[in-house]
């Protein structure tokens, strides 16, 4: 019974906080609510008896990435969000480039799909063993991540790289070289 209560508290907290992230006009509050959402997710991981994943979630997302977000928001000191203008004259938005980008995106989707299919039995416990002790063991987690799930692991990093390049392209201003 207590598990059910904490689950709904954490899950509800995550959903409400995520909603408030989009609902806020002030980017500072959005960042704060995103941190709350991450913390609630970490709580769910702890409940799934995977403390390492929970701690990694806090260190990487709530600790490192969100500090960076906060830093950028403070540096821009934007009190309100405003919509960006769509720029058609950008060299990277020419049709040829667009088609090349579409092909690359297709390749990425195929790669991710393959990564998901390549691992048979995604729902099977880590390392083929049962029990919470395996998931909470950092050693087992690392072994499995770099052997059985190596392809999915690398494919995910490509996905993050694509997102990063996309952010740079979107944020680049007209006239900058």
């Amino acid at each position: 019974m207590p598990e059910i209560v904490t689950f709904y508290l954490l899950a509800g907290g995550a959903v409400v906080a995520s909603g408030l992230v989009i609902g806020q006009r002030n980017p500072m509050y959005s960042v704060m609510f995103l941190i709350v959402a991450f913390a609630a997710l970490a709580g769910l991981y702890i409940q799934l008896e995977a403390p390492f994943v929970a701690v990694a979630q806090i260190i990487i997302y709530a600790g490192a990435i969100m500090v960076l977000f906060l830093f950028v928001v403070m540096l821009l000191n934007a009190p309100q969000e405003d919509g960006a203008e769509w720029d058609r004259t950008h060299p990277l938005r020419r049709p040829g480039m667009g088609r090349f980008g579409a092909v690359l995106a297709g390749v990425l989707i195929l790669e991710l799909a393959y990564a998901l299919m390549a691992v048979n039995g995604l729902n099977a416990p880590v390392g083929g063993q049962t029990g919470a002790a395996t998931v909470s063991s950092v050693r087992e987690l690392g072994k499995v991540l770099f052997s059985r799930h190596a392809f999915a692991f690398e494919a995910t990093s490509v996905l993050i790289l694509v997102a990063m390049v996309g952010a740079v392209v979107l944020a680049r201003r007209e006239g900058d070289t």
Binding site: P51, F52, I58, G63, L70, S136, V138
Partner: protein
């Protein structure tokens, strides 16, 4: 009620009490040591040799009027100091501070001194310490003051930069000890090499220890890296607009963070509570621990009153171009040696 449960609660309460007192005592220690280094007495009037000075300080801060600037963000301005001090206390949760003890035979089964023993304890400390930066950043932003904002920006940039070196130097010890649990890391340091050198990881990781201590100074925003509150440039930095209890919580968080940093350094590098066999025999291993923590804290204060503050660009260059590469090289060499000797 179960006796074990009660004992565990008592240990949690004791840890909390010790941390609160650590922050009060460190304020006094800082002023006394500063006085000593500047050839004067320091606080002397309140109590014998000024021992009750922290109490007077706290009473004074409690009596002060609480101010909030008109343009300040109402919620975040209040939340910032709370967040700071909560993170500081919570970070100590997985730090063990003594061997298993029965309290001189009072208990039938020995208990572990420390709030919680988690198998990823070191990462928990690291995660919660990294949450502490939000308190400072939010304080800087919510005050709606240019000095505070500059302080907050500096704090976030500095903490992101030095967290890398800090975590990488920790990773080398984890490799040697083969565990992420602080208690297990301490237990790997029992005994001696060749019969006279204590098996402390500092002797295998002198570079890592140095990097850890330097990055730790930067993480706790202490001089010579106290840029978030550089008083000659920023008035008081992120806490310029704060007064009364809200202000008091920031230095308290800073001192508790110092204590946590020193306790983790003791657990990882200095052999934790191992080292004085006589005290071990009487179940007083935690005294050894406190002595070591005290030595590191003294070094912290010593550094603050001896070294002048760096320039901001020097801080960034030092962190990224020297400390971080050094810790990475240290990690790679350690990994290679561990692989070589284990194979």
């Amino acid at each position: 009620m179960d006796l074990r449960f009660g004992v565990q609660l008592a240990i949690i309460g004791l840890t909390f009490f010790m941390l609160i007192n650590a922050s009060a005592l460190l304020v006094l220690a800082e002023r006394k040591i500063m006085g000593f280094m500047q050839q004067r007495y320091g606080p002397y009037l309140v109590g014998p040799h000024g021992l009750l000075q922290p109490l007077a300080d706290i009473l004074k801060l409690l009596m002060k009027e609480e101010l909030r600037p008109k343009g300040a963000d109402k919620w975040l301005f209040t939340l910032a100091p709370i967040l700071s001090v909560t993170a500081a206390f919570a970070a100590f949760a997985t730090v063990p501070w003594g061997a298993e003890t029965t309290f001189f035979g009072l208990l039938e089964t020995p208990v572990k001194l420390g709030v919680a023993d988690v198998n990823v304890g070191l990462l928990v400390v690291f995660a919660i310490t990294s949450m502490g930066v939000y308190g400072i950043v939010l304080a800087g932003w919510a005050s709606n003051s240019k000095y505070s904002l500059m302080g907050g920006l500096r704090a976030s940039a500095q903490m992101i930069s030095y967290e890398l070196a800090y975590a990488t130097s920790l990773a080398a010890v984890i490799l040697l000890a083969g565990s992420l649990s602080l208690r297990e890391v301490v237990d790997t340091q029992a005994g001696t090499w060749f019969g006279f050198i204590p098996r402390w990881w500092i002797f295998l990781q002198p570079v890592g220890f140095l990097v850890y201590v330097i990055a730790g100074v930067a993480e706790t925003n202490r001089a010579p890296f106290d840029f978030p509150e550089a008083e000659q440039e920023l008035v008081a930095g992120y806490n310029t607009e704060y007064s009364s209890v809200r202000f008091a919580l920031f230095p308290q968080a800073e001192y508790i963070n110092m204590a946590t940093m020193s306790a983790v350094a003791t657990d990882l590098y200095l052999g934790g509570w191992h080292g004085i066999p006589l005290l071990d025999a009487y179940g007083l291993s935690w005294v050894t621990f406190l002595l070591k923590v005290g030595a590191i804290l003294f070094t912290y204060i010593w550094m603050r009153w001896t070294l002048p503050r760096y320039r901001y660009d020097q801080l960034m260059a030092f962190g990224w171009k020297f400390l971080f590469p050094l810790s990475v090289v240290n990690l790679i060499v350690t990994a290679a040696l561990v692989l070589y000797f284990n194979a």
